[in-house]
Structures are given as structure tokens and as C-alpha cells.
């Protein structure tokens, strides 16, 4: 018909069998090693969002409270530990984690498609996908307990029938994945910063074994980390996060200001900004409960919290006022545009403290103390504040000291809530929490909570339970 000549110059069926010019599809992608490389980077892209979930990793703990104007029911629930199963932040984190796991799974599912891999590329991609899958499951299992274990691509129908695995089963997969990743991942020197290296997998596996309280295995991998790779503590604590690619960072999420930035820096900035620095912020404030713990001489205090504050717009002559804010991630950048500062996922100080814990648990008190004091020495610049055996007369004392040191060292780095839970301290710590401190009256604002044991896990999102077949996903106790 004349019509079609004008319209398409071809037969009419072409009109309804169009080929998308601007969209790749599952058939046109995953076919070359370059495709696989980009798909692996897609996994990290997902994790760039996941790592910024201070709302789940820090807010429920005792390091952070929401400042004025930060009003949103899901965040208030998390801060007050009055979490419900409809909490949208929890739901989003769950969804984001499984999206990351899906991206790993689709790399692994298609890994055999390309025929043009160079040298060890296939191993590297497999290792990265498994490492990232393990990392996502590690977050899930710590937040929710046992979760559905997905290692392949699911149809919608299949997905409604996957029940929660046990915590053991999840950890079994994590360990399996990390062991495979260790065998396949290259050294940091042979892979770009911001991608997982062999050391990252070793470190993460060591950490996982600590969470499993499998001290022997933990020691094996932590010692492998220290012996096989040459990471070292960065001398200036206040710059350990702000100096990108330094010797202490084992695995980070890379960001570029503006084009691929993070908003965590903004979130830890006071609402009306900081004089000479940020113009505005999300107003997440440091709790007095943490603040007061820094001893005199501990350089980590100034490297974590700035006490005196002046708004961005204040006059040059205006006085600074007492309004402590978190400076750990504070670098000069433009508000809300995306900060380029990299965010650490694994850094050496954490590993050293985990090692100290492991050694102590294995009965090696002195070596444990040596490890603990490595952190202490950097914090104070010398050994004068080192712990001695007298400080840790018994296990309780050691644990208290260790977790105190972890809190001071790793504040706002997404470790506190997990530490509170695995040490069991959340029951007491969160029952009495000092948030704002009125310097003039020397009185803290005290928040009390009625803590219940079940709070160690967040509820499985109600929507996910409803979307599964009836009875497939069982809610955590207490919710």
C-alpha cells in the first residue's frame, strides 16, 4: 500500500516490529568481556547508595541523633527504635541490597557468554561479583537475620516461593563466595581503586568469621591480610578518610564530586552549614554519649567532632557557638551537588581491632593488647595512653574496652549498630542515651528507650511479606 511506502519504505509488519535504537537488552548485552566489565561496575554503582545508609547503620545506635528540621516518620522510628514493618527506609535498603545481589547474580549467570576474555578477566569478574554478593548478604544478615538466599536469576513466580534461609545458611554462602573471590581476585596493584581486590576479600572474610565467633578462621584470614598485603595505619587520624587512596584503605566506594558524588558528607553537616565550609546540611548530630568519651589528648576527638560552630552565613566577627557537629567526612564541596570524597568500606583500623578481639577470644591476651594499642598509639600520637593488662582484668573489661575503642575509632562509619548488637550492648546502651548537650547548663538531653531483645533485628518489610505467597516469608519476632 502506498501508505507503508511513505511510512517505512518497507512492509507493514516493520511498523510493529521495531527495534529499539537506544536501549540495550538482555539479548544484546552480556556478550563481550567489555559488557561483563561494565556489568560488574554496575554492582558497585548499586553499592554506592547502600553504603550511605547511615539511617540503618548509625541512626539506631548511640552515636547520632537527628537535628532540628529533620522530620520524617521513618527516620524518627529508627532513631527512637520504634520501628514498624512499614518503615520505608528499611524497605528501600532491603530492595537496594537485593538489587545489588541481582546484579552480581546476572554477572555470574552470564559469565560464560563472552568468548573474548583476556587473561584473568573472567576470574576477576567472577571474584568481584561474588565479593559484592557476599558484602550485600553480610549487611542483610546482620540487619534482618536469615533472609531469602538468591544465587540465580528468579522469575516472578519463583520469587514468591523463596522462604528465609537460616542465618547459618546465609553465612555459609557468604564464606563460600568470599573464599572463591580470594582465589580469583587480583592484587590491588592490578585492579582499579574502588574495585574489590584480593585483600578486600581476605579482610571481609576475616570480619565475617569474627561475626561468626569462629576465632580460628578469623585469625587465619586476618593474619593473611596483615602478612600478605602491605596496608598500614595512616599517621594522621583526622585525615584517614579525607585522604583518598591512603595506605589504610582496603576497600572504598569511589566518588567524584558532582558527576558521581555522595551525600553522606552533606548529611553530617549542620542545617545552616558551616562558616567557610558547607552552605547547608542534613543536620545529623553527634550524641553527647559519644562525645564525652574522648579522653584528653585523643586526636580522634578533633578528627571526629568539631564543637564550636558558626553558620555558613554568619559574619566574620560573629562568635562561634557550642553546637558540635561531625567533621569526619567534611571536605569543601558544593552542598547537594554530590561530594567527591570516597567512603571507606573496609579500613585497616577495623581489621586490627577485630584481630585484637580474635586474639583475646583465643586466649592470647598480650598479643591482643598489642593490637589494641596500635590503634591507641595513633590516636594519642604516643604510647602514653596505651592500655595495660591492668585495664583488662577480665573478659568484661576487655570487651568494654575493645568496643569503646571501636566506637571512638569507627564512629559514623556504619559499625556502631552492628557492634552494639553483636556485643549485646544494645539492650543497655540504647535504654539510656545522651543526645544533645547544653554546654551552658552542663546538662545533656537524655533519651530513654524501653529496649527489647528482639530489636536486634529489623522487621522484614511488610510489603515483601505480602508480595510473597502466603506464609513464605516469616516476620521477625516482636514485629
Amino acid at each position: 500500500m502506498s501508505a507503508t511506502l511513505i511510512m517505512t519504505g518497507a512492509c507493514t509488519d516493520d511498523l510493529i516490529n521495531l527495534v529499539s535504537e537506544s536501549t540495550l537488552t538482555t539479548t544484546s548485552f552480556f556478550n563481550t568481556s567489555k559488557d561483563m566489565d561494565l556489568a560488574v561496575l554496575g554492582i558497585y554503582s548499586n553499592y554506592q547508595s547502600q553504603i550511605q545508609y547511615y539511617q540503618l547503620m548509625e541512626l539506631p545506635g548511640d552515636n547520632v541523633y537527628l537535628g532540628k528540621w529533620q522530620t520524617s516518620p521513618p527516620l524518627n522510628e529508627l532513631e527512637n527504635l520504634t520501628v514498624t514493618s512499614t518503615n520505608s527506609t528499611i524497605t528501600s535498603f532491603w530492595q537496594g541490597s537485593y538489587n545489588g545481589i541481582f546484579r552480581s547474580n546476572s554477572v555470574l549467570y552470564n559469565i560464560d557468554n563472552p568468548g573474548d576474555y583476556k587473561a584473568s578477566e573472567k576470574d576477576q569478574f567472577t571474584g568481584e561479583a561474588k565479593f559484592m554478593r557476599a558484602l550485600n548478604y553480610f549487611n542483610l544478615v546482620r540487619l534482618f537475620g536469615g533472609v531469602p538466599l538468591v544465587t540465580t536469576l528468579l522469575s516472578i513466580e519463583e520469587s514468591k516461593k523463596v522462604p528465609r534461609a537460616t542465618e547459618d545458611e546465609v553465612y555459609t554462602l557468604i564464606i563460600e563466595d568470599l573464599k572463591d573471590a580470594i582465589s580469583k581476585l587480583p592484587l590491588q596493584a592490578n585492579i582499579a581503586r574502588g574495585r574489590a581486590s584480593k585483600a578486600a576479600a581476605v579482610a571481609l572474610l576475616g570480619k565475617v568469621y569474627v561475626y561468626r565467633k569462629d576465632w580460628n578462621n578469623a585469625r587465619t584470614y586476618l593474619e593473611q591480610l596483615f602478612s600478605e598485603f602491605s596496608y598500614s595505619l595512616f599517621s594522621d587520624f583526622s585525615k584517614v578518610i579525607k585522604t583518598e587512596n591512603n595506605s589504610e584503605l582496603i576497600f572504598v566506594m569511589k566518588f567524584i564530586e558532582s558527576t558521581n558524588g555522595q551525600s553522606l558528607t552533606d548529611n553530617y553537616t549542620p542545617f545552616t552549614g558551616i562558616y567557610g565550609g558547607a552552605t547547608a546540611g542534613g543536620n545529623l548530630n553527634p550524641c553527647w554519649g559519644l562525645h564525652k568519651l574522648f579522653q584528653a589528648g585523643d586526636k580522634r576527638k578533633a578528627g571526629t567532632i568539631t564543637e564550636m560552630w558558626k553558620a555558613y552565613k554568619a559574619g566574620a566577627g560573629d562568635p562561634e557557638v557550642w553546637a558540635p557537629y561531625v567533621n569526619k567526612y567534611l571536605v569543601t564541596h558544593t552542598y547537594s551537588v554530590g561530594c567527591g570524597l570516597d567512603l571507606p568500606v573496609i579500613r585497616l583500623a577495623d581489621m586490627i581491632l577485630l584481630y585484637a578481639e580474635t586474639l583475646y577470644e583465643l586466649g592470647q591476651t598480650d598479643p591482643a593488647l598489642i593490637q589494641l594499642n596500635k590503634i591507641r598509639e595513633r590516636a594519642f600520637g604516643d604510647s602514653s595512653h596505651n592500655y595495660t593488662l591492668a585495664d583488662i582484668p577480665d573478659k568484661t573489661a576487655f570487651t568494654d574496652t575493645l568496643f569503646l575503642e571501636r566506637r571512638l575509632e569507627l564512629a559514623f562509619e556504619n559499625e556502631r549498630w552492628f557492634d552494639l548488637v553483636r556485643s549485646g550492648k544494645y539492650m543497655t546502651a540504647m535504654a539510656y542515651d545522651e543526645t544533645y548537650y547544653n554546654d551552658a547548663t552542663q546538662t545533656p538531653t537524655v533519651v530513654t528507650r524501653t529496649m527489647k531483645a528482639y530489636m536486634k533485628y529489623f522487621p522484614i518489610p511488610l510489603s515483601e511479606i505480602e508480595l510473597s505467597d502466603p506464609g513464605v516469608l516469616v516476620q521477625n519476632e516482636g514485629y
Binding site: D14, G42, F102, T259, T272, K313, N438
Partner: protein, 1120 residues
């Protein structure tokens, strides 16, 4: 015999006639047969003869004409004049022309009677006289084409293009009958006069109007479907830059909501409720046959009529796209006659409805101080500590005395103003028998009441119809338009709530910021600066062009083919220099939408009782879109002189180009049959194939059938004179919907960003599930209708009941996140819409004072019938309100806790179920299940819905002498709007503007409990937003949408200065509004949350809609 005619003759007549034609060439062709309703008089006016006579007698010539036409001659055989021999050759002559030629110089004359009988009588029996005059319409305009007949005879005449007529009468007592379609027929005795000028009045009772249906037209009386119509000149009366505004309140079942009152912004049209969750509910717009047009490219002055096909039996001919109903727009076309020039222009002012209950000065300070104190108490503080400067009070509970500044800016008044509007339209139309044209140009310029917003429109339309010959006619339509729109930078409420103490602008020209007055204030930039320094402009160049060719193949058989194209080119540029940052972006989109339609129609009346009308068609459509976009890296502009992106660094992650396309193939057929105009049947089927669906499901079938019984045509009804028309009709039909994204059925792999080694990379990930089964969303509808005309159709009533069920919803359904995705598009679920429609048209007075009333009412009940494997879906929003889709309830119902009061005191708190962390003064919620606790699973309840239960419209047209007045009312009842933006004006943000109307009666303390029902709003505690039903207002309203008062200058007066018609008018839109006193939103029906566009929609959510305005204009309609 001319050669070029023989080919035509051979093609049109069977071979056995050619022998006769050799001797005497005669062909009869009808030039026009649009309708089956060919009456004899039409035939006699339109039949044309080609005669080639050589030495033939008049008698023989008459016999030949009899053979070849429907005319029959009666004469006395003895007239000798009939033997006269003639030789002549002529073409294209009417019967009158022919008779004059044939009977020239004889003693006989003739008359053409009804039924095409021609009587030839001796001239001696006739005493002739000429009567002349001019026929004008109610406005004094000359009326061409008026039929004039001498009563009791067949003698007749037609007025020329200037309305003049001349008729020969033989009887001095004869009566002349003046008739014209759409006007009351007038009988005037000549009474010996030779000059009579006549004014005809519109016939408000006419039923024989023609309606445009898909691919054709039909007499309204023969229609078996539910169709509403509005036509010129009603439309152009109301000054409006958008055509939808002119339709508000005019048609039952057609609900037009003005959600945003921004110039150029499209109102939302919903026909018989909403049935789709993700695939859109907009009706399909068909402009002069081009399906898939857009109302924003039309100028209201150019529109002849708008028909809305509401039920599936009429919409099914557009099959795949009929689910949201069909709006058919017919533009004006030229008519035979000398050029007619029309000028329509208006100018006026938009005056926003504003609020004057703002707190200022001491009162404002006191309120905030009290507010912060209550917060402080809730946080465990001592309220006796001074508000400012005392370190014992944390800064977040302090109130800087700067709030008491002498400057008290009401930001509402700064960013809203009265806005001028103006519009000019000029059209020229006319034509000859062969070429007819309508050309029109429009310029309009409308400011928004929100400062800096503006909409300019330049448009042109040319419609040309060409009659090539008796077989072929063709036409060209061309409608380019250029629109420029500048938008406000953001939601109005952000700016209106800005602190009072800030000057809009300092004498030195700078714009101060709140945080330069006090560090505790918002960091937001000065609103005035934000408006002035944010330039968001869109420019759209759009052209709808179409060519058609008609082939009149045989009597009743016609082939039409058309080629149309919409070429859409839009660009968007934005620049801002706000909050100490420069930002900018540029986007452009080009779409070409090509359509070819081919139809073959056949219409015929058999044996005068069987009326048949058939249609076969095929249509091919393809749309290609190319988009480009880029944005500046923040703060990278070199200066603020050059605002284009060549003056900045381009951000690589926001730069793209992309292409997409879709195609549609359709085949369709329709048959209409009427028996004795009493029993009417219609059936159609359409088969559509669309590129947007998966390989297995590209094709869909859309059948329909309808029947009607015109009871009033039955014999037994003739004894009931009060009922002039009674029709009962019923229909069934299936329509479809494919309004999803292109290629949504594919498993798409799209890009994201990562930066290994600090190098930006477009990493990739699969972002949607493949669904090769993705297919059509279908709506099955039933309609039962009754049309009743009483008292010679002085009172017309139309009643419809409909039941629509939309199934296989194209719906982005939530799926378990463990698949890697949270939603996927699929065909799941069913939505029902049931309702009644009621239209009354009444001619209340039809004398010198004319008064006509149209009233319509629609009641629609929307209900979710199925959601696949689950029975409900909750769309959770951060502010505490949720949207519920639950089987058995209307879609997107508001769903949250119901506030039943305030926790008055400690005792009340202890005894009432409450959420953890709630304190005295916080809201008291309904414990819906009575279990003594408040839990999200069990205590959230349905709090209402955004869809009106009842929509009504009423138009009153009044006229007396040269004055006319039209009043249009619109009312919607029984719906709720979530005015969340009002929470901004009660203290919940940093030193915001406060409205008294929103903050009265609240709980302050146990001692001051307010009215004992209103909780204290809170900013720090999370309960502030949880008392969300406080912002859920009854949206019911009644507007006087338009008052239009005009005066037409007397025709005799204006004609002296060469003007046929001159009407001056004043028009007032939204003159008054009745609403719920508690609804304190700027636009009672307005919201910003968007319509239903997917599972995550939040319709009814209002976050800063612009105010409704009174639009007061003065206008002029002139025609030459």
C-alpha cells in the same frame, strides 16, 4: 462531445448507455452526497447536467432528461412550443438553468415540485412579480444559502453570499417560507410588498443536527451511542488560552479538572472515570481525522465542533486507543461565498484569589515563641527560660527577636500578582464552487499570577478544500504553532512560607537572604531573587499537516485516503543563579508522528426504508522521537551574562541523546443499518497491532455493537403529541490502551555511574524484566441510554447508565525485591467504573427574550475489582499519608490513621491507645480494631478519595434584542484533596509565614487545650506529619466558571461602515466560588501530585498549587 468528458462518462455508467450518449451526451453527477438523507429538493438543487444537443425537439430533450435523472415532466402534449428544435452544448447546468435554456423564447414556463416533478404550464396563467430583500441572522449578519420557497408551490430561491435574494411570485397573496438548517423556519406573507428583509432566529429545538463520529458523520437522531457535542459559537465565547477551559461544565461524563492554574498548563480530562493505573487515562484526541493529536496545538477560534465519544460502541472504531474516550475536534472550513473576515480579540486581567489571614509583627513572633516553647516542653525543657540569648535554651528552641523586625513581608503578595492576558485572532474564509478556504492566525500572550510565569502562543491554520472534478475532491490542512512558556522555579509554598522579616529587595538592588538576618533561619535564597534569577523556558514548534483525497466512485460509494504528520519540536532551557550557585540545562525533543488512513464508505437507502451505511478502513501510524539533553556542572558558569551552556562546563553524566519509536497498524470495519428510521443497529470491529507489546501479543481485537429504538417513530406514539422524540439505546464495546513506554516489554539494560580510579564510567545493569506476553489493556463497556424530547423538543433529556470494566491492566505491579526489581509492567488487575449521566436541555423562553438552559450531571463510582494475586497495595509516602488500592474500594484512596482528637492530658495519654513516643498534645488516633494499641497494620483506615462522587455543570444562554448573556457553572462534590502544603504555614519549618486560618484552636498545654480536638502541630517530633488527615480537606466546590455578557451592534448601523457584525463583550471566569470553609487551599480542586500514572501515584497530593484566578476580560468579535 468533449473528449475529456467521455472518459468520465465511461467510468461512471454501464456500457449499454453509451449508445444513447453518442447521440446526445448527458451525464448526471451528484457533486455531494455526504449523507444518506438525500431529499428531493437537495437533488434538484444539486443535480448537474451536461448536454450536447443537435437539432432536437424540446420534447425529446425532456424525455432524455427523464431517462437520465429522477426528474419527471408534466405538460400538455398540445403545447406547440415543445416541438421547437434546438442545438446547443452546455455543461454543469442545474435543472433550473436547463429549463430556462430549453424554454427560452416560448410561451410556457415551469415549476419544479417536490419529488422532482417538473410542471410545464403556459406563461399566460402566471402574473409575475419580483420580491427582493436581504436575510440576516439574529446578530444582523447576512445569511447566505437561505432557502426561500413560495408556499404551496415549488418556486424557490436561495440567498447569495451577501444574504440577498430575489424571487418571482405570481400570487400577490403568496406566502414566502424562509428556511435554513439550525434556524426556525419563518413564513411571511408578501402582502403586496416587493422588498422584504427578514431576520431568522436560531432554532433551539432542532434535532436534526449532525454529529461527527469516528471516520464519518451521522444524524444525531440515528446515533446509537453516547456522544456529547459542543460547537461554535459557544466555544469561542470564553477567553481562554486552552480549549479545555471552554468545555468545562458543558458535557455529562466529561470531567475537566484544572489542577494547576499555570498559563498554558493542560487541565485534566477524564471521561467516565479512570480505569487504568499505569497506562494513562487521557482521552484520544482526533483532530480532523488525525488520531493522536493534542488539544494544546488548537486555537479555540478555529474550532467548529467538539464531539466526545463516551461509550465503547462509538469509541471502539478507534479500538486500541479508545479506553479513555475519544475527543473529536472538527475545525472550521470555508464555505462558498465572498471572503469573510473575522476578528476575535480580548484583553484582560487574571486576579488571583488570595488569603489575608497572615500573622505579622508581634502576633507572628508570639505565635512562633509559643510554638517553640511547646516543642521545648515536649523535649523536656523549661519554658520559662528566655526565648533568646540564654544558653540554657538549645538554639533549636530559640527565637531570634529579628522576627519582630519592622519589615513584615507577606511573601504571598510578592510572588503573586494580577496578570494581564491578551489574545488576537484573525480569520478569512470563503470560496468558490471549486476551492474553499479557511485561514486563521492567532497571537496570545498570557502572564501567570505567579510572577515571571508567562505563556505566548503564535499559531496559524489553513484549511483548503478543492473540488478537482466530479469524482475527486481533496484538501489540505496546515496548522503550525509556536509556543513559549516560562515556568515558575518551584512549588509556590516554598516561597510563600519564607520568613516575614526579610525585605524582598534592598534599595541597592540586592536580594537579602533570611540567614543573613539570623543564623537560625532557613538557608533558602530570597524568593524574589529565586523567581527573577531562575529562567526556565520551553519553546514548542508544532505543526499538524494533513492532506486528503476523496474519490466519489459510485453513488454512495466513496474512498478516502489521508496522510497526516505532526512535527513536534520542543526545546527547554533553564538557568538559575540561586543559593550562591549557578546551574543550567538544555533539552530538546523532536517527534514526527506520521499517519496514513484509508477508508471506503458506502451508504444507500434501499426501498426508502432500509438505510445502510458501511465502512472499511486501514490505518498506519508511526512515531519517531529523538531527544537530546545536557546540563552544566554546578557553579561552572563563567558569568551570568551568557546563559547558554557554551558558557559553562558540561556535566558528562547528564548529557545524552536517545531515540525511540512506536508503530501501529489498524484494520477496521463498521456497519450501520436503520429500518424505517425506527430500529437502528450498528456494529464495528477493529484489529490493532502495536509495536509496544511483546512478540506474542502485538495484536488485539476490539469489537462493538449497539442498537437503538426510536419509539417516537412508532405509529402508536403519534397520539402522544407531548413526546416528540423518544429513543432507547444500548451498546457494548471493547476498547484498548497501549499508553506505556516504547519497548517496555524488553529486558532493558541501561547505564548507571561508577568511578573506579576516579574515572567516570557508564556502568551497566539490567533494569527491567522482559515480558514477551505483555499485551493490550482492555476495557469492556456497556451503556444503556434514553433520549427524550418533549414539547416539540423544547425539553430534551438524555440519560445514560454505563458499566465499564478495564482488565488486563497495564500496570507496573510490585514484585518481591529478591528478583532484583521492585516492579514490573504486566497485565494484571481489573478496575471498574459505573455511573449515570444525565443531560437536560431546555428552551425556557423562545420569544423575543430567549433563554436556554443546559444542565448535566455525572455520578461515577470507581472500584478496584482485582489486583491479581493480592487484595491490596499500599503506596507509602514519607509524610504519613498512604494511598490504598484495595479490592472493592475506589483506587488510590487516602489511607492513614484517623485523628479523633488530641491527647489532652496525662490521664488521657495513659488511657488512650497511642503510638510509641506520643506525648500530651499529640493527636489521638482511632483504634480502628479496638485492640488497645495503634499499629500500622490494623489501625489505618480509608480517609476518602480524590475522585468526585458527583460532577455537575450548567449553562444558561439568555438573549434579548441585541444583548446576550451566558452563565456557566461547574460543581464537583464528594472528594478530598490532601493540602499538605498548608503544614508549611503553621510553624513546622524555620520561622515560616503563619496563616491564622490554619492555626486556630490548637492544643497548647494541658491548661490551654484549645478546642480540645486539635492537636498541636510539631516540627521536631515525628507526630507533625502523622496528624495527616488534618490536611485532608473536602474539595467540593461550585464555580461560576464563566459569565459572558455581549452586545451586538445593530446590523443596519454597522453595515454602513462595512462591518457585517460587531459584538462587544465582557467575560469573567471564576467569578465566584462556593467551597468548604475549612478548605484553605489556593485551588480547591488543585493538586500537584500528578494524576494516576502508575502504582506509585499520589493523586490529590497538593504541594503548592497556584491560586485560582478571576479572569476578567473585554473582547470584540467583528466580521466583515
Amino acid at each position: 462531445m468533449k473528449k475529456n468528458q467521455s472518459g468520465r462518462v465511461d467510468s461512471c455508467f454501464p456500457p449499454h448507455l453509451t449508445k444513447i450518449l453518442r447521440v446526445m451526451k448527458l451525464s448526471v453527477l451528484l457533486t455531494c452526497f455526504l449523507s444518506l438523507n438525500l431529499m428531493a429538493s437537495v437533488y434538484s438543487q444539486q443535480a448537474r447536467f451536461d448536454l450536447d444537443v443537435k437539432d432536437q425537439s424540446v420534447r425529446d430533450i425532456l424525455k432524455t432528461i427523464e431517462k437520465e435523472s429522477l426528474f419527471r415532466f408534466f405538460y400538455n402534449d398540445e403545447f406547440t412550443d415543445l416541438d421547437k428544435k434546438l442545438t446547443f452544448s452546455t455543461t454543469g447546468k442545474s435543472i433550473d438553468d436547463l429549463m430556462v435554456l430549453v424554454l427560452d423564447n416560448t410561451e410556457v414556463s415551469y415549476k419544479v415540485l417536490d419529488n422532482n416533478f417538473v410542471v410545464i404550464t403556459p406563461k399566460s396563467l402566471i402574473q409575475e412579480r419580483q420580491v427582493t430583500g436581504i436575510v440576516t441572522n439574529e446578530n444582523g449578519n447576512p445569511m447566505p444559502g437561505v432557502n426561500i420557497q413560495v408556499k404551496g408551490t415549488t418556486a424557490g430561491a436561495i440567498t447569495d453570499s451577501n444574504g440577498r435574494y430575489s424571487i418571482t411570485v405570481t400570487d400577490p397573496t403568496a406566502i414566502l417560507i424562509f428556511s435554513f438548517i439550525g434556524y426556525s423556519t419563518l413564513e411571511v406573507p408578501i402582502g403586496g410588498k416587493s422588498v422584504m428583509s427578514i431576520t431568522l432566529q436560531p432554532d433551539l429545538l432542532s434535532l436534526e443536527e449532525v454529529v461527527v463520529i469516528g471516520y464519518g458523520t451521522m444524524r444525531k437522531s440515528s446515533v446509537t451511542a453516547a456522544i456529547s457535542k459542543v460547537e461554535d459559537p459557544r466555544l469561542a465565547q470564553m477567553p481562554a488560552s486552552r480549549i479545555e477551559t471552554s468545555l468545562v461544565g458543558r458535557m455529562a461524563g466529561v470531567n475537566i479538572s484544572t489542577l494547576r492554574t499555570v498559563p498554558g498548563e493542560a487541565p485534566i480530562i477524564r471521561i467516565r472515570g479512570i480505569g487504568s493505573i499505569s497506562a494513562g487515562n487521557d482521552p484520544l484526541v482526533v483532530i480532523d481525522g488525525f488520531a493522536g493529536g493534542s488539544l494544546d496545538q488548537l486555537n479555540v477560534n478555529d474550532i467548529q465542533s467538539i464531539e466526545v465519544l463516551k461509550d465503547a460502541s462509538s469509541a471502539a472504531i478507534y479500538g486500541s486507543r479508545g479506553s479513555g474516550g475519544i475527543i473529536i475536534v472538527t475545525t472550521k472550513r470555508g464555505k462558498t461565498g465572498s471572503p469573510k473576515i473575522k476578528v476575535n480579540t480580548y484583553a484582560g486581567l487574571s486576579v488571583p484569589y488570595l488569603y489575608d489571614d497572615w500573622l505579622t509583627g508581634q502576633e507572628w513572633y508570639d505565635y512562633l515563641a509559643r510554638y517553640y516553647n511547646r516543642e521545648f516542653v515536649w523535649a523536656g525543657g523549661d519554658p520559662s527560660i528566655p526565648m533568646w540569648g540564654d544558653p540554657r535554651r538549645p538554639s533549636r528552641y530559640q527565637l531570634d527577636p529579628v522576627a519582630l523586625s519592622e519589615t513584615q513581608t507577606i511573601w504571598q503578595d510578592v510572588i503573586l500578582n494580577n496578570a494581564p492576558i491578551q489574545s488576537y485572532n484573525l480569520s478569512v474564509s470563503g470560496g468558490t464552487e471549486f476551492v474553499k478556504y479557511y485561514v486563521s492566525g492567532t497571537y496570545s500572550d498570557e502572564d501567570g499570577v505567579v510572577i515571571t510565569s508567562n505563556y505566548k502562543n503564535y499559531s496559524l491554520r489553513a484549511n483548503v478544500d478543492i473540488k478537482v472534478n466530479k469524482v475527486i475532491d481533496m484538501g489540505v490542512m496546515f496548522n503550525p504553532s509556536y509556543r513559549i512558556k516560562r515556568d515558575a522555579p518551584g512549588s509556590m509554598n516554598y516561597y510563600i512560607k519564607y520568613p516575614n522579616f526579610v525585605e524582598p529587595q534592598l534599595p541597592d538592588g540586592t536580594y537579602p537572604r533570611a540567614d543573613s538576618y539570623t543564623a537560625l533561619a532557613t538557608t533558602m535564597d530570597n524568593p524574589l531573587a529565586t523567581f527573577i534569577k531562575t529562567i526556565n523556558k520551553s519553546r514548542v514548534l508544532n505543526n499538524l499537516g494533513e492532506v486528503y483525497i476523496n474519490l466519489n466512485l459510485l453513488e454512495g460509494l466513496r474512498f478516502r485516503t489521508s496522510f497526516g504528520a505532526t512535527l513536534y519540536n520542543s526545546s527547554y532551557d533553564s538557568f538559575s543563579d540561586v543559593n550562591r550557585r549557578t546551574n543550567g540545562s538544555a533539552y530538546s525533543t523532536n517527534t514526527n508522528n506520521l499517519l496514513n488512513e484509508n477508508t471506503l464508505t458506502y451508504s444507500r437507502i434501499f426501498n426508502k426504508i432500509h438505510e445502510f451505511n458501511g465502512l472499511l478502513g486501514a490505518s498506519f501510524q508511526r512515531s519517531n522521537t529523538r531527544s537530546l539533553g545536557m546540563a552544566a556542572t554546578t557553579n561552572s558558569y563563567n558569568n551570568t551574562i551568557i546563559l547558554t551552556l557554551n558558557n559553562a562546563i558540561i556535566n558528562p553524566t547528564s548529557t545524552y541523546s536517545s531515540k525511540t519509536q512506536w508503530g501501529l497498524i489498524s484494520y477496521f470495519a463498521r456497519a450501520n443499518y436503520a429500518y424505517r428510521e425506527k430500529y437502528l443497529f450498528s456494529a464495528s470491529v477493529r484489529r490493532d497491532g502495536c509495536s509496544r507489546f511483546g512478540a506474542d501479543n502485538k495484536w488485539g481485537y476490539f469489537p462493538s455493537a449497539s442498537v437503538a429504538w426510536r419509539v417516537s417513530k412508532e405509529g402508536f406514539m403519534q397520539n402522544i403529541p407531548v413526546i416528540s422524540e423518544l429513543k432507547i439505546r444500548g451498546s457494548y464495546g471493547v476498547t484498548g490502551n497501549y499508553n506505556i513506554g516504547d519497548f517496555d516489554y524488553l529486558g532493558k539494560v541501561t547505564s548507571n555511574n561508577y568511578s573506579p580510579n576516579d574515572v567516570l564510567v557508564k556502568s551497566m545493569a539490567q533494569t527491567s524484566f522482559e515480558n514477551s506476553n505483555l499485551g493490550w489493556e482492555k476495557t469492556i463497556s456497556y451503556d444503556i441510554g434514553l433520549e427524550l424530547g418533549l414539547l416539540k423538543n423544547r425539553l430534551n433529556i438524555v440519560f445514560d447508565y454505563y458499566d465499564k470494566k478495564t482488565s488486563s491492566l497495564l500496570y507496573s505491579v510490585s514484585i518481591p525485591a529478591i528478583t532484583g526489581f521492585t516492579t514490573t509492567i504486566s497485565n494484571i488487575g481489573e478496575i471498574g467504573n459505573k455511573g449515570i449521566e444525565f443531560e437536560i436541555k431546555s428552551v425556557n423562553l423562545n420569544g423575543p427574550f430567549r433563554w436556554q438552559t443546559s444542565f448535566n450531571l455525572t455520578r461515577n463510582r470507581n472500584k478496584v475489582l482485582s489486583l491479581g494475586s493480592v487484595t491490596e497495595r499500599i503506596r507509602t509516602m514519607g509524610v504519613g499519608m498512604n494511598y490504598l488500592l484495595r479490592v472493592g474500594e475506589p483506587m488510590f484512596s487516602y489511607y492513614s490513621y484517623k485523628t479523633i482528637g488530641v491527647l489532652l492530658n496525662d490521664e488521657d495519654l495513659a488511657n488512650s491507645p497511642h503510638l510509641t513516643g506520643e506525648m500530651v498534645g499529640h493527636p489521638k488516633y482511632l483504634d480502628a480494631n479496638g485492640d488497645g494499641q495503634i499499629t500500622p497494620e490494623k489501625d489505618r483506615v480509608i480517609l476518602g478519595n480524590f475522585q468526585p462522587k458527583l460532577v455537575m455543570g450548567m449553562t444558561n444562554d439568555l438573549a434579548w434584542k441585541n444583548f446576550d448573556l451566558t452563565l456557566t457553572f461547574q460543581s464537583a462534590l464528594g472528594f478530598k484533596v490532601l493540602n499538605v502544603d498548608n503544614s508549611d504555614y503553621e510553624g513546622s519549618t524555620t520561622m515560616p509565614a503563619i496563616r491564622r486560618g490554619l492555626v486556630e484552636n490548637q492544643w497548647w498545654s494541658t491548661a490551654e487545650p484549645g478546642d480540645g480536638k486539635t492537636p498541636g502541630p510539631g516540627q521536631y517530633s515525628s507526630q507533625g506529619f502523622r496528624c495527616i488527615d488534618k490536611f485532608l480537606d473536602n474539595g467540593s466546590y461550585c464555580y461560576l466558571r464563566n459569565l459572558n455578557f455581549g452586545y451586538t451592534l445593530p446590523g443596519d448601523l454597522t453595515r454602513k461602515i462595512g462591518i457585517d457584525n460587531l459584538r462587544i463583550y465582557t467575560s469573567m471566569n471564576n467569578l465566584f466560588l462556593i467551597k468548604d470553609k475549612k478548605n484553605l487551599s489556593w485551588n480547591v480542586e488543585g493538586y500537584t501530585g500528578g494524576e494516576v500514572t502508575g502504582i506509585s501515584s499520589y493523586p490529590g497530593y497538593n504541594w503548592g498549587t497556584e491560586p485560582v484566578s478571576r479572569v476578567i476580560t473585554i473582547g470584540l468579535n467583528v466580521s466583515f
